[in-house]
C-alpha cells in the first residue's frame, strides 16, 4: 500500500455478478479494501460479454465494457463453484476474508455448501451479504427479478414520466442506486459493529425491499391519506417554475427550479422583465402553481432563443438553480466540473484503454482515485492461490487440469 485509504486492511471475497452486486465490491476496492472477485468461465458473468455500447477496436475495449467498469481496482480469480474442490478452496479464501458478498438467487450459496452456517465454521466473525430479489422467506422467495422489473414492482414506474403517458423508465435504477448503496452501507455498519464487539453477522438485502426505501412519501401518503400518487412530469408541488425548458439547438433543454418568491423576483430580473414582478398572477408560489401552464410558456419564451448552457450560467450567476439537461457529449466535452473532477478516467486495459467511472467521494485525509481497470479472467490466480492461500505448484497445476480454476 503506497498510501493510506479508508478501507485499507479489509479483505472482501466478492462472488457477486452482473451489475448491482459487483458495484458493492467496487466501493470497497476503490476506497482501499482488497477485493477478490471470484469468476468462472463455466458461469460467465453477463457483463463480460455485453458491451452496453458499440464495440470498439484499435486499442480500446472491444467487449465487457460493463464488466471493466463494475470491477475496477479488484483482483480477479477463476474458481469453479460447481466443483466440490472449488467450494473447498472458496472456504479457504473466506477463512482469511472479512466480508463475503454475492447476489445469487435465494438459497444458491446454501446449496453449494457456502451458506452462512458453513462460513462461520471457517471464519466465525465473517460478514456475509446476500441479495435475493424477494428475500429468503415468504411466498415469493423462489421468484426472480431484475432492475427494470423491480422499479415497476415498487411503484417507481407509476410515479415517473409525464402525466397520462404509459410508464417508460428505460434505466434499471435499482441496480445502480438503492441496491448497491444500501448493501454497502449495511456491510460498513456491520464492520463497525464487528470492530466494537468482535461479532460478524448475516445481511439479507431483499432487492425489492431495499428499492422501496427510495420511494419517499409515496407509501405514507397512501397509508396515512389513502392517496395513490401519479406521475407529475417535471413539476414539484413546492416550486414554480420547476421544469425542463426548451432551449436553442438540437434537443437543447435546461432544468430550472425557482423555490421562493424572492428567487422569483431575481428570475424576473435575469430574464429582463422586471415588470413581471408586479404581475399578481405570478407573485406568490400558490399563484404560480395555479397559472403554471402559462408560467411555463413564459419561461420557454425566454429560454427558446438561448443555448441551454447560456441559460444555466445566466441563472446560476444570479443565484437561481438551473442545470443543462446534459447529454453524453455535454458531460464529456463541455461540462467544466466533469473535467475538473475527472468523473471518468481512462485506464489501461487489455492492451488498450478503458473508460471508467472515478471515485466520487472526496476524503480529506485519505484521498482515493480509481487506480486500475478490472482484472482479466484469472489475472490474479497466481497471487491468490500461491501467495495468499499457500498452494503448491502441483496443487495449482492439478486444479487447472481438473477444471477447478475454470
Amino acid at each position: 500500500m503506497t498510501y493510506k485509504m479508508p478501507l485499507s486492511g479489509i479483505r472482501v471475497a466478492d462472488f457477486a455478478w452482473v451489475q448491482a452486486g459487483p458495484w458493492i465490491g467496487r466501493f470497497f476496492a476503490n476506497y482501499g479494501a482488497q477485493v477478490i472477485r471470484i469468476e468462472s468461465a463455466k458461469r460467465l458473468d453477463w457483463s463480460r460479454n455485453v458491451p452496453g455500447g458499440p464495440e470498439v477496436v484499435d486499442g480500446k475495449i472491444q467487449k465487457g465494457a460493463y464488466f471493466v467498469n463494475f470491477n475496477c481496482d479488484k483482483l480477479g480469480i477463476t474458481l469453479n463453484l460447481s466443483n466440490p474442490q472449488g467450494v473447498d478452496i472458496a472456504k479457504k479464501l473466506i477463512a482469511i476474508s472479512d466480508v463475503v458478498t454475492n447476489n445469487f438467487s435465494a438459497g444458491y450459496m446454501d446449496r453449494i455448501g457456502l451458506g452462512y452456517k458453513d462460513l462461520v465454521k471457517v471464519k466465525p466473525d465473517i460478514i456475509m451479504l446476500e441479495m435475493p430479489v424477494f428475500g429468503n422467506s415468504g411466498p415469493r422467495r423462489t421468484f426472480a427479478g431484475y432492475g427494470t422489473g423491480i422499479q415497476s414492482a415498487i411503484g417507481l414506474n407509476s410515479i415517473s414520466g409525464m402525466p397520462d403517458r404509459r410508464p417508460g423508465l428505460n434505466i434499471a435504477l435499482p441496480d445502480m442506486g438503492p441496491n448497491p448503496t444500501h448493501a454497502t452501507i449495511a456491510v460498513l455498519a456491520a464492520l463497525h459493529y464487528r470492530n466494537k464487539t468482535g461479532k460478524g453477522q448475516y445481511i439479507e438485502l431483499a432487492q425489492l425491499e431495499s428499492s422501496l426505501g427510495w420511494m419517499e412519501t409515496t407509501i405514507l401518503d397512501y397509508t396515512v391519506n389513502g392517496r395513490v400518487r401519479k406521475p407529475q412530469g417535471n413539476r414539484l408541488p413546492y416550486a414554480a417554475p420547476h421544469g425542463v425548458y426548451r432551449c436553442a439547438g438540437k434537443d437543447g433543454w435546461c432544468a430550472i427550479c425557482v423555490f421562493t418568491d424572492t428567487e422569483w423576483k431575481v428570475f424576473c430580473h435575469v430574464i429582463g422583465d422586471p415588470a413581471l414582478i408586479a404581475n399578481e398572477r405570478f407573485a406568490t408560489l400558490r399563484k404560480r402553481k395555479e397559472y403554471e401552464d402559462e408560467l411555463d410558456e413564459l419561461v420557454t419564451g425566454w429560454t427558446r432563443g438561448r443555448s441551454a448552457w447560456e441559460v444555466m450560467v445566466l441563472l446560476q450567476y444570479a443565484g437561481i438553480a438551473a442545470g443543462v439537461v446534459e447529454t453524453g457529449e455535454d458531460l464529456v466535452l463541455k461540462d467544466e466540473q466533469y473535467k475538473t473532477h475527472q468523473y471518468y478516467v481512462e485506464l489501461p486495459y487489455g492492451g488498450g484503454k478503458a473508460y471508467c467511472e472515478n471515485t466520487m467521494l472526496r476524503f480529506s485525509e485519505t484521498p482515493c482515485k480509481v487506480r486500475n481497470a478490472a482484472p482479466e479472467m484469472g489475472q490474479h490466480n497466481d497471487y491468490v492461490y500461491r501467495e495468499l492461500l499457500g498452494m503448491s505448484e502441483e496443487e495449482i497445476v492439478q486444479c487447472y487440469v481438473d477444471e477447478v480454476f475454470a
Binding site: 458491451p51 415469493r140 415497476s152 417508460g168 428505460n170 452501507i185 467544466e336 472526496r362 476524503f363
Partner: protein
Amino acid sequence: MNMETESNKALSDIRVLDLTGPSGVYCTKLLADLGADVIKIEPPGGDPMRQIGPFYHDEIHREKSLYFWHFNTSKKSVTLNINMTGGRDLLNKLIKTADIIVETFQPGYLDSLGLSYENLKIVNPGIILVSITGFGQTGPYRDFKSSDLIGLATSGILFTIGFPEDPPTSLGASQAYHMVSSNAAIGALMALYYRAVSGKGQWIDVPMQGTNIRMSEMVPFTYWVSGKSRYRSGLEYYRARRDIFDCKDGRVVCSALGGAGAEKMLEWMESEGMVADLRDEKYEPVIAIIMGSSPGGKGTQQKIRLEAAKGLRDYPEEADHIDEVWEAFLKTHTREELFVGAQTRGVRLMPVNDARSVVDDIGLRARNYFVDVEHPELNQVFKYPGAPYRLSETPWKISHRAPLVGEHNLEIYIKELGFSDKQLAGFMADNVI
C-alpha cells in the same frame, strides 16, 4: 419508547449532528435507523422541511408533514440558531460530543460562520464532517445551486428518460437526493472505519452531480466509445421492444412472450386457447430471437443484445403481431395471476404496482416489511416503509417517529450539557433556541 438494549444496534455508539436539507436528510435517516444517536438541529420555529407536503389529512402544519415524518424517523430534535454567536457556542458544545456532522449548506457557508472543518477539528479532533452539495466544494460550478431535478439533469440521466416526443422527464420520489444521501452515508461509515484504525477524522466532499453519474448507466461511457449521446426512447434502449403490457387489472413488465421462457408461456397460452397462430412456422425465427435477447436469457451469454435488437427489427410485422397476441392473453389475467403463473414457469414477469398494490402485496406482508410507527400526539399508528436490509445481529429499526420541533431541548441542553432551566429560558428569550 426505546425498549431494546443498545447493544444490538450497529451504530449505537455514534452521535451524528444533522444539519441537512432535502438533499441530505436521507443520509441521516439511514444512520438513525441503524441506531446512531442523530440530533437534528432545527432553526427556532422548525426546519423548513416541515413545510413540504404531503401533510397528514392535508392539514398544513409543521408537525404534520409526511415528508418530515418519513425522513426523520429515529432522530432527536433540538432548536438552535447557528447564525447567532450564542447559538454557535451551544453548537460547539454539541460538536464536542459528536462523531459525525452531516450538512448540506452551499460551499463556504459554514466557513463564513467560523465553522470550517479546520475550526471544527480544533473543537473535536476526531470529527467527521460530511458535506453534501450540488457540485462539490471545488471546481468552476461549486457555487451553483442545485435540486433533485438539476442533479438528474447534470449527471446525464434526465436526457435519456422518457419518450422521444416528450421533453426529458424526471423520475419520481427525488432519486438524485436519495443517491447523494446514500453515497454520503457510505462516506461517513468509511471515515468511521478509518478513524477506528487511525484515530483521525476527516472531511468528506460529496457532490450530487458526481454521485448521480452512476445512475445514468454509463451515459458518458457510451459517448466515449461511440461518439454518440444516448437518447431517450421509452424502453427501447433496454429491450429493443416495449416490455410493459396491459393486463386485466393494470400492467405487467416482461419481454414479449416472457423472453427466454417463451416456450413455457406459449404452452400456458395454448392450454387456455390463447396462442392464436403463433405456432405457425413463420414465427419460429422471431420467437427464437425473442428467446435469445431477453435479459437473463441463456442467449445473452452468447449473443449481444444489440444484435438481437437488430434481428427483431427485421421482422416488424411478426413482432407487432406477437405483441398483440401476447397482450390479448395477458388481458385475460390479473397482475397477481400473471406474476405467480409466469414466475412458477421460470419467467421473470413482474407487476407494475402503485402505492396501493405495493402496500397490499402479499409477499411484502408475509415478510412483515411494513412497520408500525406510533404517533402518540395523534393517538394513531401508521405503516411506514420498513427495513432496506436485514442484519441478523443488529436489526434495522425505526426507534420512534420523527421528533417534534425542539422535542429534545430539555434532554440535551439541561440533562446532558448541564444548563439550568433559567439559562434555557434565556436562550429562548434571545431566540438562540
